[in-house]
Symmetry: D2
Subunit: 274 residues, 4 copies
């Protein structure tokens, strides 16, 4: 909808074809969102952006207040919630390029929370952290595009890591329920420490639910009683089917619903997210 570049908000904009973000994928980003017009978890996203910047050797010229103030300026007076993509490229190699995109919220239709989504398992594996740190959110996303292309019929594609343990989706984290316990791949599984993932773990614990962060085997995806995804733009998304295995027949239930029902109240009441 609009984009901030070189100190200005514009309807559209261009960059030099010599920008190293364009030629070599030398860029980092974060995707934030608003809830009822308010920016969600800005501090947490800023910390991740800073960590990515350090890994890529990009100077962080704006401090937290400066960056957030630009974003607040961009989202004021909007009539619906949005996705905000903050992106920094190495530019011409001397001066980094900061862009802020205000975009339509990439949230699923509300139907999806009732019908759930179908997911597949990628034949490509998640890039190991020893090759590209999984904590680095880079714009070098060709491998995500490849994975999505391969199984277009699914809402989301789940990556296994190099050793064949469950990692994460192309745009979401994965949770499953086994015998009343909430299970999700640990950070050692070569995943990104998603902010909504962390919210769900904390929320579950606050509700007295037992949570395991550990290596998750593929067969657990096919033998669990519930399966759901988390992503910033969409919260908790129930999974109806994984490959040819149906997880639930009618409507999602159990912990998936318990956590979904409590999700917004929980984040709205946690000061650290605002």
């Amino acid at each position: 909808m609009k984009v901030y570049i070189n100190g200005e908000w514009k309807e559209d904009a261009v960059v030099s074809v010599y920008d190293r973000g364009f030629m070599y994928g030398e860029g980092i980003y974060e995707s934030l969102r608003t809830y009822n017009g308010r920016l969600f978890a800005p501090r947490q996203h800023y910390e991740r952006l800073k960590r990515s910047a350090q890994l890529m050797g990009l100077p962080c010229k704006l401090n937290y207040d400066e960056l957030i103030s630009i974003i607040q300026d961009g989202i004021k007076n909007l009539d619906k919630d949005v996705t905000i993509r903050v992106m920094v490229t190495t530019g011409n190699g001397k001066e980094p390029n900061l862009l802020i995109y205000i975009m339509e919220l990439q949230a699923p239709h509300s139907d999806l929370y009732i019908y759930g989504v179908d997911v597949g398992i990628s034949r490509l594996r998640k890039i190991p952290s020893i090759c590209l740190p999984s904590t680095l959110k880079t714009t070098s996303h060709a491998y995500l595009s490849l994975a999505r292309r391969e199984k277009g019929e699914f809402y989301e594609i789940i990556f296994l890591n190099y050793q064949g343990f469950v990692a994460e989706g192309t745009m979401s984290n994965v949770f499953l329920v086994e015998n009343g316990t909430l299970v999700t791949p640990s950070l050692e599984s070569d995943i990104l420490d998603g902010i909504t993932r962390r919210v769900v773990i904390d929320l579950a614990r606050s509700l007295g639910i037992s949570v395991e962060e550990r290596f998750v085997n593929v067969d657990e995806l096919f033998n669990c009683s519930e399966l759901f995804l988390t992503r910033t733009s969409a919260g908790i998304i129930p999974v109806r089917r994984i490959e040819s295995r149906t997880i639930f027949e009618n409507e999602p239930s159990g912990l998936t619903i318990l956590l979904s029902d409590n999700f917004k109240d929980y984040i709205f009441n946690e000061e650290k997210y605002w």
Copy 2:
């Protein structure tokens, strides 16, 4: 120096900030060069570009003759040899974006062929083909930038693959000499099948030198008698030192020199490269 975009050659040019090559690294490329003004190995580079395009699901709108004719147009009347970067991004997702950059040849000073270069070993490993096919030349190059940043003092950084076998440099292939045999990592080592790599293998065999393409252990880098790199823009580059181990004291010799001395004659006489 100049760039071809949207059907025109320009001094400088821009792309939309919404180009998916800029936002998500969804692009592919090839780097060609000229020798005495003539385009080297255009057919081989075109075949690789087509393979990359298929992997990324990019339509190849130009056939071989059309593409080469544009490049020929761009390099005519130049007074020195150049590097040509052909790059295709997914653009806005509907129409791919073709760019051709004519750039200064990234060749080492001629001194380097006598003094050799120093190389290090990356602490980051080459991305396995099961994650991102090593035959795909994508613009999603953040991992290369990370690796180069880490060991800035070296001319080149050599990647090991996930299993710890020698793979390739950030911009070159690796060869070593052991007991008179030329050894280089096999394609199964998660490497790109570099065109100059193939030239050197063929040239060596034509000279009666025994060549092994196989998994190469790290200790072989420290126990070999010769070590050199190959890359399109520079041909054969002798390695003087790897980490703290000196490979040669005075001047490069042996197969390194034999192959270098015969390199240009060999390629000029092979019709398939022109």
Copy 3:
């Protein structure tokens, strides 16, 4: 039932506690069986034994005819089919120790061919060939004992390899059927090239069934229409259930039955197995 050692058949026997097969697991073996009193695939087992012996540096003192003649002597006049374990240890380090055990056939009850068996997936992974060649049948089997201990409720436990692809069971090879195609892990999956595995592949092809030997993903075990195991002592064993997923409700059918029905005729008519 009886054992051949030091040139003699005995009811029972002992070895020195200093035998390196006992102290260090330095031994190799093959398990053969009889059908109607006739030795099955002796030539194929001998070739594998010889390959194992070479890998372990054990001299093969007996040629094919000598070894088979001893075995024939041991199995003559038996009133039911048996398993024959041929085992060679490094002995005292100078003189290897040859043992031949004649043992009760480790075949499942005939009921199992109708009811099928339940299998689990091991949490331990198959040892990679780069650590211990999967073509080497060694007596160093502690990892098999560990895997069986872990999931005692199942008839068989399936190993994944280091990268998380399906490998093989602790005592069997694995086949599945997908869209009418017979699929089994390729030899590159760190498996043993089981003799019954090879029989089933050849038999299937002779019946016009399409066969794929390739990397098999874990999710395929949960999404296939048929699943069965092969092992020398038992032939083809249908799998009813894998972990909590039921593969068939009533009786095995499809290719499992087609192959089982043709199995004995096929091997009895193939001269190379006798």
Copy 4:
């Protein structure tokens, strides 16, 4: 020299050929030694034996005092130091088999402490803990025999782990010195937590030496200033040469000698080892 089996000390002894330790390598062991006739680190070895027994599902019928009292009985009145191998096999599957071997100390000639030893790098990799826990000392040692066979000219062969990081020798742990820091592979490198390894780490720290337990890259073996091995029977063994790279020309020096000179005093004064 003598062996304890079935409650008795004997010159020589035998086991049934049906012992599962012989047929399937189902056994565990520990190697202890004496210093001046006194048993070194018995408590530590007992704890490791118990851990191995639990992993293999072997009942530990003897408590610490009972086992040590048998060993003390076996080593009394010996005129030189010995190696004691305590070994438990699953026996006939019902009753485990306990054996205690008193054997000549497998220590290098004292010359070796001055001249050092030559070591090679195995082409076989250490079995990953996800396949066979590296904390389990099993008698299933075929892979060690294979590795030693491959490079017979060296005193010791160093394994890399599956990912190509330095792991350990076939019978020793590995240390190196870089810029005055003592570096050794961490337990996450798929190594055994050797008792002498732990002694050396503790001793170094007590001397104010900086110690790093971490993933160690192969190239560090070729770029370090000192390299040594540790093993129970031999203490600290300097390495003169690794593959074709010479580590020291004349005599070992530096931390290798500092640690060696203080080794015996240190262990004799640590009550926990006696």
